[in-house]
């Protein structure tokens, strides 16, 4: 039972980071209909930018803030340079542009920062674990959880209560109607990419704090795809629940199934779950049911 609780809680804590990144993904999809396969690389860029600022001697909070700023700028630039010319093109072309971006960003990251594993030194969060009864939780996980929850709340309230958030919701709901009511779709698309970059950057920083930072963090960023498929592609609550669920499923699979296989379950199990979800409930938990059956 303790093992189960331990795995469950670790899963929730890691899952909150996935939820944050998945939120950014869903946002782009909701607003502009772009299926972004470069999310892993966005997490990488954010993480490395934050690491660089941190090693230049800024306090972690400030470094994180700068990461958000840089993410904002990069997001808007990416949208203007690469995605705006593709508005109205076929879906596959847009998806492949994001694949091209993924290669481009990954190449740049490896060119600038190299492929060795880097760690945040001195460590940002204290090393001593916290004991809750018999359950052990690393402080990194706890703080990562707190940070992602704060950001999730911030983003969600941004959508609910600010003018720009509301116009993003309107665009997501019906682009034509929003345009005719005076919503500036260009700004909305750019903003969606900016927010996705920011969310992914923070997510990447937190993941980098847990295990050290190398190219494989980008692979963890790819785990948002199972999360959003599970939650439904265009649902913000779905993204959050999906992220948490994928975190939990991943950790439970690691804990219980590892002994039956030579290894590697943790990495592929979310994708196996994704295939099953796609087969039986392709629109996820709360996605819009408008898949054309073939």
């Amino acid at each position: 039972m303790e093992i189960f609780l331990q795995l469950l809680i670790t899963g929730i804590l890691v899952g909150s980071i996935y939820a944050l990144v998945a939120l950014g993904w869903t946002l782009i999809y909701k607003c502009s209909g772009v299926l972004n396969l470069a999310m892993g690389e966005l997490t990488l860029i954010g993480a490395y930018v934050c690491l660089t600022f941190y090693h230049w001697g800024f306090p972690f909070i400030l470094a994180l803030f700068f990461t958000l700023v840089i993410g904002f700028i990069l997001g808007i630039l990416t949208e203007i340079l690469f995605l705006r010319p593709m508005v109205g093109e076929p879906h596959l072309a847009v998806i492949m542009v994001t694949v091209g971006l993924a290669f481009f960003f990954k190449g740049l990251v490896m060119l600038i920062w190299g492929t060795d594993t880097r760690v945040f030194s001195p460590a940002v969060f204290p090393m001593e674990p916290i004991f809750l009864g018999k359950i052990v939780i690393g402080q990194v996980f706890l703080w990562a959880f707190v940070a992602s929850i704060i950001l999730l709340l911030a983003f969600v309230s941004f959508f609910k209560f600010t003018k720009w958030g509301l116009s993003m919701q309107a665009t997501a709901d019906d682009e034509m109607a929003a345009l005719s009511l005076g919503v500036n779709a260009k700004v909305v698309y750019a903003l969606a990419w900016a927010i996705a970059f920011m969310a992914a950057g923070v997510g990447g920083t937190l993941l980098g704090n847990i295990n050290g930072l190398n190219i494989s963090v980008g692979y963890l960023g790819l785990l948002v795809l199972p999360a959003v498929v599970l939650g439904g592609l265009n649902s913000v609550p779905g993204a959050i629940v999906g992220g948490l669920a994928i975190g939990i499923i991943q950790n439970l699979a690691d804990g219980y199934l590892s002994r039956f296989t030579p290894g590697g379950v943790k990495d592929v199990f979310p994708f196996a779950v994704m295939v099953i979800v796609l087969l039986f409930k392709p629109y996820g938990l709360w996605g819009w049911v408008r898949i054309e059956r073939v």
């Binding site: 299926l35 690469f82 010319p85 593709m86 093109e89 879906h91 596959l92 072309a93 998806i95 492949m96 542009v97 694949v99 091209g100 971006l101 993924a102 290669f103 481009f104 960003f105 990954k106 190449g107 740049l108 490896m110 060119l111 795809l225 498929v229 592609l233 296989t261 030579p262 290894g263 590697g264 379950v265 990495d267 592929v268 994708f271 196996a272 994704m274 295939v275 796609l278 087969l279 392709p282 898949i291 054309e292 059956r293 073939v294």
Partner: protein, 364 residues
Amino acid sequence: MSYRPCGVYHQYYRQDHAWWQTKFVWGKMIFLFIAVFYLFPQYAGMYFIAIANVVGYTILSAMGVQLLIGYCGQVTLGHAAFLAMGAYTCTLLMLQLHIPYPIAMVMGGIVGGLWSVLFGLPSARVKGFYLIMTTMAAQFLTVEFFITQYVSKIGGRGVAFSIPPGTVKIGPWMIKDDRDVYYLMAILVVIFTIIMANLVRSKIGRAWIAIRDNDIAAETMGVNIVLYKLVAFFVAGFFGGIAGAFWVTSLAAVSPEHFHFGWSLWLVGVILIGGVGSIHGTIFGALFMTLIPEALKFLIFALTQNPVFVNIMPFLPLLLEKFLYVKEAAFGLAIALFLIYEPNGISYRWWQIKNYFNLWPFSY
């Protein structure tokens, strides 16, 4: 000159179906044949032959992707998984059961095809983005899990299967160096191109194109779309398996790293740059994606030899050292820019140039 002049009509269906309809095309193809099979391997250095092998491997691997994406409209981001299945089946059959290479190669193709059908089954229910996700999952489940964790451990060989020299032979012909690999590659590319070109103008190919253009309309016209989609997946997987089994010849050791996710994406990039829905496109894309990075590398190398340029651009030696990443970034940028500025790919440009010269000097 590749079109028949005005007023000359076909008299038999045989003429109408002929691939090469004019004397000029015959001459061109015969010259190409001589160049590929005699002039190039005879006079090119080993370096160029090695590059040609990579081009050929890319063509062979991308042919299946072209079939799925370009002709049947089923996007696949996991083609390296089918290459890997073919390569591993072929290697295992050769090493464990000592089956001759040609048979092992065909078996590799069949296993690759069946594996592809397995992951193509969801295409009966979902399409578009959801199918992309499924094929991506195929990549991770197959290569990162099934092959790395289980298949690689067969026979206690550790992670990589090394192939002893002299294992790969077709009858008395031992494939031992790059030149032999080149001949095998050239033969396979010709066979693949012929099969592919004839498939897409047969009943099956017309059904695929109908599904690509509008699947609902195709269904109302009586095309069994599930069947034809699965056939497309099988043929693509078969091509992939053969390509993987071919690449075994030029690898000293088969290991999962040769079939990573990046290679799947690379293949999709190849056909996007070359031109979707065109066999020429596959070949042009493979040439472009292999030759341009090599040329870029050569350029950077040449620049680093000259101290003047190194003084102007002090980052040059570093670029050479990290060329792999430069290549990756350049590739990504190339895909994005091609999709934005030349969405029809190189083959469209080629077609335009050809037409220009055909109609020259009166373009109306």
